[in-house]
Symmetry: none
């Protein structure tokens, strides 16, 4: 079966009334476009059976695949299953396999199974189950004339698991023919425009079946290089490897890595390679740097811990920043973050430490130190490097940008003082 036209359908009043932003569709759109298919359309409808049926009728006529999300939970406002059954004109049948799976999950959790969970096992006749490794609501696959219909739960991590473990490998990949090569470059410390300017020459040399897309985030840009063609794949692969190499070399040390990576994973890799112990001393980021380092599986091998020194008293008494530094220069100063690193290394007994102190806002700014002023220091027992950053007025954004900057400065420090040429 060849899949060329795909549309997305989300079900749930919460999207229509703007209570939640539809990040599921954005994620699906990105996944599909990475596979070379731009969705035809994206439709959201409410928890309204007539509207769902009407939209399914239209979409299954116009597409090769319709991916529907939402409305599969155990409570009564979830009417997707009933709508699909009515649309297909099939009865709901109790599915023993789904029931046994839900029973096993609840036995493990030592929690009782409620009647509404049993209700969840009545599914339209002829359904093919798509395994949900993250929850109780199963994904469902149906064939509607010439179109495939996939129904997924709306909970993002459940939807993503079924897409990645079932829909993409088992339905989409076999249906796509064209050769497509793709690589994602994760870049930190440079904006989209700056990256675009630096790559101008490289991009001009590319044939027209190459394309570059930018996916900007806070303090990070992902650049996606794609090549597609239906000619001999060795030629395409060789060309692709060449341009990929060129892009890497232009990006230089601003390139964190390729594919599905991030700063904390790269830092973890360096620490493991060179047996480094690292620690954190945080003020305005309030634990965000630590939380990102600790989010990596196996982080306990190199991440020793940290101190969240939100007050001057903790900076002084636990971290060991001298009172005279705090009094003379203030908490948000080069001297303070330098002292946090120097003392923090001893207190935490680590090889390398990073310290962050700044004014996240919305209050606390002054003409000399406006909201968004952030000092970062990274160092070991012999070298400490510091950096002043100036962000904007929004607290959440300032914390995220400061966290991202601190991790990137830590990565660059490890690159400079520890990482061998061979690993670069």
């Amino acid at each position: 079966m060849n899949i060329k036209k795909i549309s997305l359908l989300t079900v749930g009043d919460e999207i229509l009334i703007g209570q939640i932003v539809d990040t599921n569709s954005a994620w699906l759109g990105e996944k599909l476009s990475a596979l070379g298919i731009i969705p035809q359309s994206l439709i959201s409808v409410g928890d309204n059976q007539d509207k769902i049926t009407e939209t399914l009728t239209l979409l299954t006529e116009q597409n090769d695949l319709v991916i529907m999300t939402g409305g599969l939970g155990p409570t009564k406002d979830d009417i997707t299953v009933k709508s699909i059954a009515d649309f297909l004109k099939t009865p709901l049948i109790f599915n023993e396999i789904v029931y046994e799976r839900i029973k096993t999950i609840f036995e493990k959790l030592q929690r009782p199974l409620s009647p509404s969970h049993k209700q969840q096992c009545y599914l339209p006749e002829g359904v093919e189950i798509l395994h949900n490794s993250m929850g109780t609501a199963p994904g469902m696959l149906f064939k509607v004339r010439q179109c495939l219909l996939v129904s997924l739960p709306g909970v993002p991590y459940e939807m993503k698991a079924i897409m990645e473990e079932e829909v993409i490998p088992k339905i989409l990949m076999p249906a796509l023919h064209e050769t497509m090569l793709q690589e994602t470059f994760v870049v930190a410390g440079k904006g989209e425009t700056e990256i675009e300017d630096s790559l101008k020459d490289t991009i001009q040399q590319m044939p027209d079946y190459f394309s570059v897309a930018y996916l900007p985030g806070l303090g990070q840009v992902r650049l996606r290089l794609t090549a597609r063609g239906n000619f001999a794949s060795e030629i395409l692969e060789k060309q692709f490897a060449g341009f990929s190499e060129n892009v890497s070399s232009v990006l230089g040390s601003s390139l964190i890595g390729k594919g599905d990576t991030n700063l904390e994973t790269v830092i973890g890799g360096f620490c493991n390679s060179y047996s480094l112990k690292i620690g954190t001393l945080e003020s305005c980021t309030g634990g965000r740097v630590s939380a990102r380092l600790a989010s990596v599986a196996g982080a306990s091998a190199y991440y020793t811990g940290g101190i969240i020194a939100y007050t001057n008293e903790i900076k002084n008494r636990i971290v060991g920043v001298p009172d005279n530094i705090l009094n003379t220069y203030g908490a948000e100063s080069e001297e303070t973050v330098k002292s946090m690193v120097e003392n923090g290394i001893k207190v935490l007994d680590v090889d390398v430490a990073v310290a962050i102190s700044g004014i996240a806002g919305p209050t606390g700014g002054s003409p000399e130190k406006p909201v968004g002023t952030v000092w970062i220091a990274v160092g070991n027992s012999t070298n400490v490097e510091t950096r002043l950053l100036k962000f904007g007025k929004k607290r959440e954004q300032n914390i995220t940008l400061a966290t991202q900057a601190a991790l990137n400065i830590l990565r660059l420090f490890l690159l400079k003082y520890y990482v061998t040429e061979a690993e670069k």
Copy 2:
């Protein structure tokens, strides 16, 4: 004119490929539902003229008002104007009023007017201009048989300005009749099914113009109560207040708060009310609890700081957990988290502290302490309460659930020992 059915249409490849999340539609949905109208559907299509025409044909047949956003800027991929003209089968005519306005803006900015800006002044015949106070692209209003069609620029602040200054006061307000009341209850520590079961009797007593929807998240559920009717609003308001009161009372202490709130905000409010200083001692959550507490603007008034004791050495040397406790019971034990709180209160010099230690996974589990085992303690100088939780196998999910549980247990501790009846 009576407006009952509204649909939203967004134009632009960037939404379909997931490059940007469609926050415009979420904003519009919220505005419209606040006015008592839940949009019928929300459709996104790419920069594709056929697809736009086809969708406009369908939507203008089914609705009283279609609000279209995106694709009005001066760059070449913005094809909305051309699509509307073709759909209406009218020519594009140079609009002098729009041109004069754009010219004035550019004269003020002392910048030259480019040919693409002049191009922007060719608009479909019969258009009614909706003034854009924030930019050059005008909003447009058309009448298509029985339906109104509004086209707005995709730039969020321009779209919002035209909605608030033109569409809502001049088109929507005069056309609306029905009353709608709505309240969101944020609940922690209970699953969707458990909440639904406990509310069964209350929901059964509600008239059929009341509805309840559940919006589940990790470790948190939002419940939305809605009532709508076109009779005297005092009666509806009184009924609504009664049922809202019933729901609150059934939810009891699992109700964090109403509307746009979360655990860290509620905890912050309690700390401010009772002048409490709080601190964190984290192992497996690695700074996530701290980061959430510190994310609240003004948190420095009550959040003193914390220690991320990722290793036993830090638990012992900095927090002060005795070696014999760590050696006898292990890091993930009731004794350890209790000692972390008892010692942490002194080390951080706070009134109340929360401690978390567990096995986030994917490795590190054992038959006695499988991955997902988490101990949490909360206490002050006289009382320490502990709790054992068992989550699943996924690291990220375990950390998020442990963080949410720790904050909820901290909230319940503050409720029990500090919050007066009056504030409850």
